[in-house]
């Protein structure tokens, strides 16, 4: 039997960030329990810190929105809806931007204190426009975020050519979000874990939480296949699998479900991109070792993580259209990850009414890497009994219960 102050279930970006911030800012006794399953989203991710991009529906969001529009139009027959920027609510902007602002300092801190480098790269995120429709789309985006005007840069065809010489001549320009950057997602998770380990967190990797120990409305710990972990607080950071743990902890269900994303990776190439790119077909990022990562499909296929030719073709075609030089390269490998999706695309954070000793840190959908830092900080504040630095009300799990009651 083991007794900890905090047990974190899940060692992806979010769980690892919780472990790091808690161990940095408190003297609590902490354990992190993680089992690698096919589809772990943090390891599958592109590592984009696209705070504005994702909030306004670029990056993964544009593919997600296109998929939604398509499903919508198919469901409604011939009536094709106009594709409009898909902007998340203000609370998410604040959440994402606050987290984004933490990375430069976090990067330094990890390098200096823990000797780990998660490869933070200042890249910007450019939305490439091919035609007037794209320009209208981009204009709608900027109109929606007047308060962030200083973070948006318009590039005409000539400027774009100068900054991204390998982008197709067919591009008429781009908008660049200058605060959107990238990290190496594996290294980020690794950095959090290594930092946490150095700060005294017990890491139980390759260990599966099999059940939650509950006493009335109090969560008292978890069981793994061969051990029992008692704790004062259990943090549920189990990604696409979070609902399972939630059910055991609370006896209720919450809408967190796997959203599959397939990724295409090129061979190493010389540096052909100066920044990250989003188009209405895909997003493209060149990583520090030269590989070019193209993402990502948005599919609801349960826990399936197989690759399929149709999606790989779509993504590759989108990328070749934008960067014709890719035609001289090869696809090295593909994979699929499972994002923890929620119906309103917002994460589920914080305590659950009527349940003690339990916190949600899940449902981060397509922005877990970006928002891991702020999630780690907020969870630490909650556990220390402080008022969270951001209002967690919009992220509470109760929003779904209320919605259900209203619907019911």
């Amino acid at each position: 039997m083991k007794k900890y102050d905090v047990v974190i279930a899940g060692g992806g970006a979010v769980g690892a960030a919780c472990a790091y911030f808690l161990s940095r800012d408190t003297d609590l006794k902490i354990a992190l329990i993680d089992l690698k399953k096919p589809g772990n989203a943090s390891r599958a991710s592109a590592g984009g810190l696209w705070a504005i991009g994702e909030s306004v529906g670029l990056g993964c969001g544009v593919i997600f929105f296109k998929t939604l529009s398509k499903l919508h139009s198919e469901a409604q027959g011939k009536e094709v809806p106009v594709m409009r920027p898909h902007q998340l609510p203000d609370c998410f902007f604040e959440f994402a931007l606050t987290s984004n602002n933490m990375y430069p300092a976090l990067h330094q801190e990890m390098l200096e204190k823990h000797d780990v480098d998660f490869k933070f790269e200042r890249t910007g995120l450019k939305f490439i426009m091919y035609n007037e429709e794209d320009r209208l789309y981009a204009e709608q985006i900027t109109q929606g975020i007047p308060h962030l005007a200083d973070q948006v840069r318009w590039l005409d065809a000539e400027q774009l050519k100068k900054e991204e010489p390998y982008v197709t001549d067919d591009a008429i320009g781009a908008i660049d979000f200058i605060c959107d950057h990238q990290v190496n997602p594996y290294r980020l998770v690794d950095a959090y874990l290594e930092g946490a380990r150095q700060n005294g967190v017990s890491l139980y990797l390759n260990t599966e939480v099999t059940s939650v120990i509950r006493n009335g409305n109090v969560v008292e710990g978890v069981k793994t296949s061969d051990e029992v972990f008692f704790c004062d607080t259990l943090i549920n950071a189990s990604g696409a699998w979070a609902n399972e743990l939630y059910q055991q902890a609370t006896g209720r269900t919450m809408p967190v479900y796997p959203v599959k994303g397939q990724i295409v990776l090129s061979e190493r190439m010389p540096k052909i991109m100066n920044g990250c790119i989003s188009t209405s077909d895909c997003y493209i990022a060149q990583k520090d070792n030269g590989e070019i990562l193209i993402g990502s499909s948005t599919e609801e296929k349960g826990f399936d993580t197989t690759n399929s030719l149709d999606k790989i073709q779509e993504l590759s075609q989108g990328a070749m259209k934008c960067l014709p030089i890719l035609k001289e390269s090869s696809i090295k490998r593909c994979w699929a990850g499972l994002r923890p999706g929620t119906p309103d695309e917002l994460p589920i954070l914080g305590p659950v009414e009527g349940v003690e000793g339990y916190l949600n840190a899940c449902g981060h959908f397509r922005t877990g890497i970006l928002t891991s830092a702020i999630t780690g900080q907020l969870m630490t504040e909650l556990i220390m009994g402080k008022t969270p630095s951001l209002d967690l009300t919009p992220f509470s799990v109760e929003r779904f219960e209320e919605a259900e009651q209203k619907a019911g």
Partner: protein
Amino acid sequence: MTSQTHDKVVIVGGGPAGTAAAAELACHGLKSVIIDEAPKLGGVIYRGPLRKTDSLPHLDDNLKRAMTALQTRYQAHRESIEVKTQTRVLGPEGSNQLLLSDDSGLSRQPYGHLILATGCHERSVPFPGWQLPGVMLLGGVQLQLKSGLVRPGQRMALVGTGPLLPLVACQLHKAGVDVVGVYEASPFAKLAKEAVALLNKPKLTLSGMSMMSYLKKHKIPFKYGWGIVSAQGEEQLSSIHVAPYDSQWRPQRDLAEQVAVDAIGVGYGFVARTQLAMLLGLEHTYSKVSGYVPALDEWHQSQNHSAFVVGDSNGLLGADAAICEGQLAALRLAWQCGKITESELFSRATKVNNKLARIKKFRFGFDRFSDRQPGLLSLAQPQTVVCRCEQVRKEQLDEAIAQGVKDITSLKMRTRIGMGDCQGKTCSSYALDYLHQAGLTENIGVIKPRFPLDPIPFTLME
């Protein structure tokens, strides 16, 4: 129409196992498709020269007989066997198709039943200098001789363990290479202990002895209990250091000798080639000799996915066993398809199994003789690159393990080992052995292959 394609048995790999399976299926009226990446059937072992040649002075009669036997086996049933050569399997596509690539692009191959006969690849053993041009793996040396019809070097040494060492030494010598030494890691005494096991295949043992006497006659030194320490050279291999190995195969460096060579063959074993089986989701178990191998029943059929895996891709037993396994899988499939009765299945299978049992006893004798010892892992120095694609050095593995890495996926994420173009085929067996040596044996996992199994040009996606 669809039922016809779905009835088809798709065999991946046209070596001894795959070809034997196809021929056996044909005997029972089942049609099959063999997919092979080479331009010719036969697998690495029996493919033979890839261009026309009048004579093969360096290839022994046994090999020529085996090559002919395999060709005969195929020719007798060629109407039932469709062969797709120079075709690569990139991975599964959907639930009952494979995605293929060849000169004309991508295509899908539907299957009703699947037999994987994907063979094995060589086990890499990193040591200082192993990346120098001229340092080759033993099977590669043999392929240059047998398929490329080129001499891999002028002045060569062979290091490693097992029966391939004397065989390749003889082949090299017959091809006109100056073989300056053969270094077998295990002591002779250990081989002598296996005499009883080796007598299960008296002909093979005899042929092994005749190889040894050939080497003796031509004054080619064959040293037991010796092995590689390092390789040197500026841009190309110019010499190696070899030394006596202790019982753990740790080199006694103070007794090392320098040997001038321009090429060497390194053969410390093979690893089952299971990338496709893993991508298909078959369960695997670890074997020290063969690496991760699929979990199969006595007919070589997997529980999940019900694919058959035969030949070296389900454990290293060599070509003769591969033929038997191909036949067993085909018989079982013929029975499952209602082509033979249960009594026919068992009477035919008993004969094949008896033969297989003799081969196994012989083979296990050699496995015990060539049992890989931990000293081999100490050849690599801190600066030695262990993952060639990603240039990961041994000291990076040490650092990661010291920081608490306990499994191969974490090791991969932390060091990029296995993340290169070869997807870990070269380095993962070293990494696994290394984790084992560090006392990590449970749940260490495996470097999972990714789709596609070989890089494919973006243009194929247009």
